[in-house]
């Protein structure tokens, strides 16, 4: 009986090796991105609360800003200035002297 043993050529062996390496690499990448996505989603889901509180803070700051702006406008109104100046004893000039 003759036993014939066939041997893979060197190039064929290298090709299979490379293919399995690629397969492993791609699998690792897929697993990595899948884990990363889960991690990001998880983290973002937690940020919802933070986002909500930031939005509320923005709203309350805008509200406060509007109230302060209105307060300034009231304090700077001519009605207010006139009554304040009158209470402090200021009066309109009775006569204006022009120097030429």
């Amino acid at each position: 009986m003759t036993i014939i043993k066939t041997f893979e050529t060197h190039s064929e062996h290298n090709f299979i090796n490379l293919r399995s390496k690629k397969f492993i690499l791609v699998s690792i990448l897929i697993i990595f991105f899948a884990v990363a996505e889960i991690w990001v989603n998880n983290s973002l889901a937690k940020l919802g609360g933070q986002f909500e509180s930031t939005l509320n803070l923005q709203k309350s700051l805008m509200l406060e800003n509007q109230l302060l702006e209105n307060e300034i406008a009231t304090e700077a109104s001519l009605q207010k200035i006139a009554s304040q100046s009158a209470s402090l004893g200021f009066i309109k000039p009775l006569k204006v002297q022009y120097i030429r």
Binding site: G48, G49, N70, L78, Y98
Partner: protein, 565 residues
């Protein structure tokens, strides 16, 4: 056999599941989908801020203030809680004991309704909201809204108009600037749609749809707040001093047509307009017609000068006494007559017979055309919602007497804005301008400026100069000379018009006015002051003219104009 029974049982079970699934997935799908969306989607509308209205220096005339709608949820409250909420809320919302009882009654009524949600009170300010929140009441809440805020309180009410609600309950501007520019001011509401988790917090990786709210545009006015304040103070004083029914004034820049100030009394508070009679809402300066009386004489005389039918020194040869015309007798206001007065004398002494003389020289066709060219009989196109223009009677219905009376301002109806604009054409070398209250409309990215617009040249510059000199002399030597500020050249004319009632003129009720401009050589402002039915004196020279000069004195200081005489 057993196998068959088992198989039948399984098939029946499968059919039941299939039918149930069909029911949920097909028949009830829309309803369930909607319920799911409500549970995990949040829809929020974002209010657009109404645009601000600013004085020419950028200070605020009308802005917005956050306000809140207080609501109650009667279905989740017990009878005791309803009673307790009503008592506590009434204490916070009321200003006195009587009002407290009234409010409590209303609240008990609100809470007794068989509803999930009832509005309790609109326009609650931030401080009241804080006070209510401090009570930690069950079954009440707030919805954010916005109300108009006026730092100068009721100033410029007629100019502004007010913000009310239309028949759909939406905020809408009425009268004045709020009405005219409602489209620009109101903006466009936006919305947010996002997914939420079980705790109601947004899921950032979910669907997130936003439609940005577009805020309303801001209006920057030509109104100078100092001049506005000056005229308001003087009119308030004047209406009391002269016991008038109403008082009003407009200050206009003749070269541009810009309205620098506009005020009238009695007025109202735009923040609380419902507490005032509806008759107060209309701006009489643009909507109220009257017979201008002698102030109209300067316009007729300017037309006569422009037509070269008279000169300032032309003598009137029909002015020795009353003029009889078509069965009517035309007299001077004091029934005193001069021998051959010049046209300048006619204006200085406000001589009706001299005006008949000049009107006859012009003739009906030409005078009618001048009246139209000055802008009477058609709107001035001022940017205020309430403008109304009285019609001119058709030319073919005018008789000889109508031409004669029109020469001294009787039988012609005008509005104060038409009158001040026509006189401003004299101050502007004959050019009639379109009056503008708003200088610019701006949003976050752009600004649209409203440029001065010349409507037409009504008279030649030389005619404008001649009539100006006559008006200066009328101030220097006329009935109101005692009130004139010394050292300044002011051109003006008084007017005392009787009020037509049921086919005749009321002898005791007048409309007293003064229209003029200063400094006459290089006018910075044209102004009209009008009092309706003054009681201390019926004459314009003793009521409107002094107020005009008081305001002018303050304006000279404000504009830093030194006397030059």
């Amino acid at each position: 056999m057993r196998f068959k029974i088992l198989r039948f049982f399984f098939l029946g079970f499968l059919a039941t599941i299939t039918l149930r699934l069909f029911y949920w997935q097909i028949i009830q799908s829309d309803k369930l989908q909607a319920r799911a969306e409500v549970q995990h989607l949040k829809n929020e509308s974002v209010l657009a801020q109404r645009g601000k209205i600013l004085f020419s220096d950028g200070s605020i005339l009308a802005s917005n203030s956050p306000s809140f709608l207080l609501f109650g949820q009667p279905k989740i409250l017990s009878a005791e809680e309803k009673e307790s909420n009503s008592t506590k809320l009434a204490r916070v919302l009321s200003k006195g004991v009587e009002e407290e009882l009234e409010i409590k009654k209303k609240l008990i009524n609100d809470f007794s309704q068989d509803l999930y949600w009832v509005p309790i009170n609109k326009n609650i300010d931030i401080n009241t909201k804080k006070n209510i929140e401090a009570l930690s009441l069950k079954g009440i809440g707030f919805v954010v809204s916005s109300s108009r805020f006026y730092p100068e309180s009721s100033s410029s009410a007629h100019l502004l108009g007010f913000l009310g609600s239309n028949n759909k309950g939406e905020s809408t501007g009425y009268f004045g600037l709020e009405g005219y520019y409602d489209g620009e001011l109101k903006g466009l509401a936006g919305s947010i749609r996002l997914e939420k988790d079980a705790q109601g917090l947004p899921i950032l990786i979910g669907n997130f749809l936003t439609k940005e709210a577009r805020n309303g545009k801001d209006l920057t006015l030509n109104i100078d707040r100092t001049i506005q304040f000056i005229i308001e103070q003087n009119l308030k004083k004047g209406i009391e001093k002269y016991g008038a029914k109403s008082a009003m004034a407009i200050v206009m820049e003749p070269k541009s047509g810009n309205i620098l100030a506009m005020a009238s009394f009695p007025s109202y508070d735009p923040a609380d307009f419902t507490k005032y009679p509806k008759e107060y809402y209309k701006n009489p300066l643009v909507a109220d017609q009257y017979e201008p009386g002698s102030t109209f004489k300067v316009l007729v005389m300017a037309a006569a000068l422009n037509e070269d039918v008279v000169k300032p020194d032309t003598k009137c040869d029909i002015c020795k006494g009353p003029i009889n015309l078509g069965g009517f007798t035309i007299r001077t206001w004091n029934n005193q007559y001069e021998e051959d007065p010049t046209m300048t004398d006619v204006i200085v002494h406000s001589d009706n017979t001299g005006m008949v003389f000049s009107a006859k020289k012009i003739g009906l066709d030409k005078l009618y055309k001048y009246i139209e060219d000055y802008g009477f009989g058609s709107p001035t196109d001022i940017d205020l919602q309430d403008e109304f223009s009285p019609d001119l009677r058709p030319k073919n219905s005018w008789r000889e007497i109508d031409l004669a009376t029109a020469a001294f301002g009787q039988g012609v109806a005008v509005t104060p804005i038409q009158m001040v604009r026509a006189v401003s054409a004299i101050a502007n070398g004959g050019k009639l301008m379109e009056p503008h209250v708003v200088a610019a409309i701006s949003d976050i990215s752009s600004t649209f400026e409203i440029k001065p617009k010349v409507v037409k040249e009504v008279i030649r510059p030389s005619s404008a100069k001649s009539i100006t000199e006559m008006m200066v002399k009328a101030v220097e030597e006329g009935e109101a000379k005692w009130a004139k500020p010394k050292g300044y050249k002011i051109a003006g004319k008084t007017g005392t018009a009787q009020i037509p009632i049921a086919g005749h003129y009321d002898p005791n009720k007048t409309i007293a006015s003064f229209v003029g401009f200063a400094p006459a050589d290089d006018p910075k402002f044209v102004m009209i002051v009008r009092y309706d039915e003054p009681t201390s004196s019926i004459f314009g020279a003793e009521t409107a003219a002094p107020t005009f000069f008081e305001i002018a004195k303050e304006l000279f200081i404000y504009y830093k104009i030194a006397p030059n005489e």
